[in-house]
Symmetry: C2
Subunit: 419 residues, 2 copies
């Protein structure tokens, strides 16, 4: 595996991402209601590549020790396989379900493969929802004919709706680029996730498809780089889930000259496109986080190295006191400073500066004095999207994390999710 | 410094701690209202040792890079000094206040020393409250005569009330022991803290006094051991504050044969007494945490080493999803398992077992089936104090953390604390 440099997935300049309806040549998407856990709503999604050659594929998964059965299935099947379909259910996570859970994940794939007429091991499976419950295979089998009938090139928004749990809106993103040479390539996909969101593959489920022709190695490189620059930069509550999965499939239907050299201009262009879609989906997840009312971008600059910047950014991004201050629209810079100070990265207070947007509120070890500063800061905290910059004064490295506020609704939603 | 073994501060067997009124021979305590930030309530406290020889003293302080001015002052003055007094104000933390803050901390000590008639450098200063505001020295000077007049042997409950911020009850604890040899020794003190509570000296302020005669080395050893076994085992929100201070003074008024050997039976008895008082105060802090409705004890056993056990315990203890589940009285074991799985400690799901009190809810990689288990678990989650035990199946090490639930009131309190 080619190592991914820290910044590889973060270059998304000059890429216009659309959240409107889209199609990815070579793929169909569909949705159906199985009634497995939710009454009368879409809860099954299917992505399918009709071409029997199958896809180049790559995936990044949760590092949680208790990873769910479908995660194990996908990890196995992505080792050198050529998948053609992803079947997803929402409502039951099939995590912490023992041997029986593994058997049911395999059976879900088999049911889909029989309906689609493809081989069983070319189907990937993904689940999201409550931990510890078994998926109901009868519901899967019963809804399968409707799900297959629903498949169509523009089925992505419906599919994105079907994979939601506590999400309030469906999340899709797509771009079209010319990587050089005149062929147009599309990258488009969907994500779900609203709680149990934290780095180390920081979402529940993300599925992105492209019609680009490229080698599995190039796809894998940009998938890992893209995850690093998107979902591994967000947090809602610091909780990494058992089911986090990012899967990228490439059909080759664009018929561009195949991209096989990671370092080529075409590869870089593809990487930017994929990275842009992933980053847009990641930000959509934070914006729709459980109870969230604000999107907070925390940029830590002037760090000795990227890991230090990351640590400081996430300590602030996960601090309940910082997050409740944003919810209360209280420009309480002291809590951000206090969080930075406990991050484990040694800081020299006199060198640290804190900005809300372009307003400096803290420097040289003390707050910037004045009623004016306080009033401007309060104004900024009323915004729906707030940019915070913390300059450490130690070096050139930086890291940007995205988080949201911690609201009364977050507690309400999570005090009663299961019951 | 003699290193403190991991378990040194945790042995509190056979020690009965009282939360009722107490006196510590050799010390007076008092309170007054300065009007500095709160109207019409006690906000200044003073602890004073009238004997001019001064005290053996030890302190443990926050490791936050932005430590407050009074923390720096205490660190300096505890290096070989013999302090006689601690002056505390509540409402303004004197943190992130630059050079001016340092000058004001020194000036607070000077004002108290002039009123008490002792040397300026024998006074320690402690502050708690909002970060970034300067303490008002006029308020300190104006209230000082009343504060000195209020000093009395049984003034601890009033003093404990004066140091509160978002606390709802004052917190004191004391014990009397015979360390061997017939002398009776008292250890008693007070704590405040309700938010910004996390390990690495996990409280805002704790002041404990004893009349024991002992060497500074013995006192220092048991202070560090006691902190490790008490305040470093609790969390409310994972935020380590800028002002955390634990200070222990010993007057020697008990006139016991001085304890100078850490390993002696008398020293061990003193260590148990101090450890018990600290642990009781720490648990009082968690019980009175901002918005808390429940005290949760998370015991991780069967770990390969203590650090692994600590990591797993605190990952669960700080998880917003775990804490909201307790608030919602939803026996959602999956969230505890998911938190353990993301702690960074590699776990083998099949070896892990989870208990609520003595009820096993998860083992061999899957939940214990049955309506009965679910009903019993729900009953346990209605309790005010809940014991959770997670057995990792990897070794003999263990760690117990105390935390509370995350409630709607936590968000309400912290969305509006400053304004």
């Amino acid at each position: 595996m080619t190592p991914v440099p820290a910044e590889a997935g973060r270059n998304t300049r000059n890429v216009m991402v659309s959240r409107a309806a889209f199609e990815v040549p070579g793929f169909l998407a569909g949705a159906a209601a199985s009634g497995m856990r939710y009454e009368g709503r879409l809860d099954m999604a299917l992505i399918y590549a009709p071409d029997p050659t199958g896809c180049a594929a790559s995936g990044v998964f949760t590092r949680n020790s208790f990873c769910a059965a479908p995660v194990e299935l996908c990890r196995d099947r992505l080792k050198g396989g050529s998948p053609r379909a992803i079947l997803v259910n929402a409502g039951i996570a099939n995590a912490c379900t023992g041997e029986e859970g593994k058997i049911r994940a395999v059976e879900m794939a088999r049911i889909a493969s029989a309906a689609l007429g493809c081989s069983a091991d070319s189907v990937l499976v993904s689940s999201t929802g409550v931990i510890g419950m078994q998926v109901d295979l009868d519901s899967v089998a019963r809804s399968m004919p409707a799900l297959v009938r629903d498949l169509r090139p523009d089925g992505w928004r419906r599919a994105a709706k079907a994979i939601m749990t506590t999400d309030t809106v469906e999340k899709t993103a797509s771009v079209k680029i010319d990587p050089g040479g005149g062929s147009i390539i599309t990258v488009g996909g969907m994500a779900k996730g609203a709680g149990m969101i934290a780095p180390d593959m920081a979402t529940l489920l993300v599925f992105v498809c492209t019609d680009a022709a490229l080698s599995p190695e190039v796809l894998d490189y940009w998938t890992r780089a893209g995850a690093e620059g998107s979902f591994n930069c967000i947090t809602v509550d610091g909780d990494t889930s058992t089911n986090d999965s990012l899967i990228v499939l490439a059909s080759g239907a664009a018929a561009n000259p195949p991209i096989t050299d990671v370092g080529s201009g075409e590869s870089q262009a593809f990487g930017r496109a994929l990275g842009s879609v992933l980053r847009d989906l990641a930000i959509q997840v934070v914006m729709d986080a459980e109870g969230a009312t604000k999107l907070i971008e925390i940029e830590v600059s002037g760090a000795a190295d990227r890991e230090s910047a990351r640590k400081v950014a996430f300590t602030a991004a996960n601090s309940p006191l910082v997050k409740t201050a944003f919810f209360g629209e209280d420009a309480n810079w002291g809590r951000i400073i206090a969080a930075a100070g406990r991050s484990g990265v040694p800081l020299v207070p006199e060198r640290v500066a804190l900005f809300f947007e372009n307003l400096c509120v803290f420097e040289k070890g003390a707050p910037v004095p004045g009623e004016e500063t306080e009033r401007e800061a309060s104004g900024i905290f009323k915004q729906k999207e707030i940019h915070v910059r913390l300059s450490l004064g130690q070096g050139d490295a930086s890291f940007t994390a995205w988080t949201c506020d911690l609201s009364l609704d977050y507690v309400k939603i999570n005090a009663s999710y299961r019951s």
